[in-house]
Amino acid sequence: MTPGTDDVVLAIAGMAVITYAVRLAGLGLARSMPAHPVVASFLGHLGGAVMVALVASSLGRGDAAGVAATVAAVAIASRGRPTLALGVGMAVAALLRM
């Protein structure tokens, strides 16, 4: 069963408005006062924390090939090759799943 069309349009419209508003808010923020240091620090940590949470949440499901692929990708990406890291990570997972 798929969600109703109204809900789908509403979900995407909301996502689009929120995302564009956040992008614009940065311009507005920089043009008005600098944010409170604690707020700036919180926002500065939010991006990395979201990414860590997404990775930890996915790897927590116990997929050994996924963990191995991630370790390989991190090793290569930390040497400044993010595109290669994606490819090698996928190849590692593909090999382990054969």
Binding site: I12, G26, G47, M51, L54, T70, A73, V74, A77, P82
Partner: protein, 236 residues
């Protein structure tokens, strides 16, 4: 923070646009892989082609779109989807804020319109061009438009090619999102000040589902991590 003259861009030229396009070729390859991965993942999550391409074109933020897919079910949990979009994309605020000092007020309306395609990749290309001395806002536009086209086209391609690929797990395509974030984390790492918030965020994903429902897991873990980071910074 905007300065009159000085740091602000002076013009938008065709040369600048081409410079942005050329500087974004490696970025486009990564975007294409990610876009195709999103198309496959969206088909797996039972989205229609129209919904998939519509989301990609309207939202234009890969991480938030993947996050929304993990919540996609019937009935749609609208508020969790929106909050997750806000949480995942809150970082854009910092990126566009840092671009503002470069753009200045000269291209007010154009800058506001251009924010629609603002993402990490185009932001990074623009910052690098600025560091190299460019004063041409065309660099940003060239990069942003190229990435937008690649993103939408590769998403549609991934969606349509999904049945030919068979089980996307065979190629590790189901891992593109995790691999992308894990790779991005290596350049996001700012040293020891990130250690405590990252460990906290990772541990917080282990909170039992009886306390935090699965669709809130990532959001709660991220807020815990960012709070620990802000608390740590305030003490130092």
């Amino acid at each position: 923070m905007a300065q009159a003259g000085g740091d602000a861009t002076d013009r938008i030229s065709r040369d600048g646009v081409w410079q942005g396009v050329r500087a974004s070729v490696p970025l486009s390859v990564a975007t294409a892989v990610l876009g195709a991965g999103f198309g496959v993942a969206a088909r797996q999550a039972s989205l229609s082609l129209g919904t998939t391409v519509g989301m990609t074109a309207a939202v234009f933020a890969g991480a938030a779109q993947f996050a929304a897919l993990t919540l996609w079910q019937t009935p749609l949990p609208l508020v969790p989807i929106w909050l997750s979009t806000l949480a995942v994309n809150a970082r854009f605020m910092l990126l566009s804020a840092s671009l503002e000092s470069w753009i200045g007020r000269r291209h007010g309306l154009k800058a506001i319109a251009a924010m629609f395609v603002m993402g990490e990749g185009t932001w990074a290309v623009s910052i690098q061009a600025r560091a190299a001395g460019s004063r041409d806002f065309g660099v940003y536009i060239g990069s942003g438009v190229l990435v937008a086209l690649v993103w939408v086209a590769s998403t549609a391609f991934g969606y349509l090619a999904a049945p030919l690929l068979g089980d996307p797990r065979r190629f590790g395509l189901d891992l593109v999102l995790v691999l992308f974030f894990a790779s991005a984390l290596t350049s996001t790492w700012r040293g020891s000040r990130d250690l405590a918030p990252w460990v906290a965020a990772a541990l917080a994903t282990r909170i039992p589902a009886s306390i935090v429902a699965p669709e809130w897991q990532v959001l709660v873990a991220a807020l815990v991590g960012a709070a620990v980071g802000a608390w740590r910074d305030a003490r130092h």
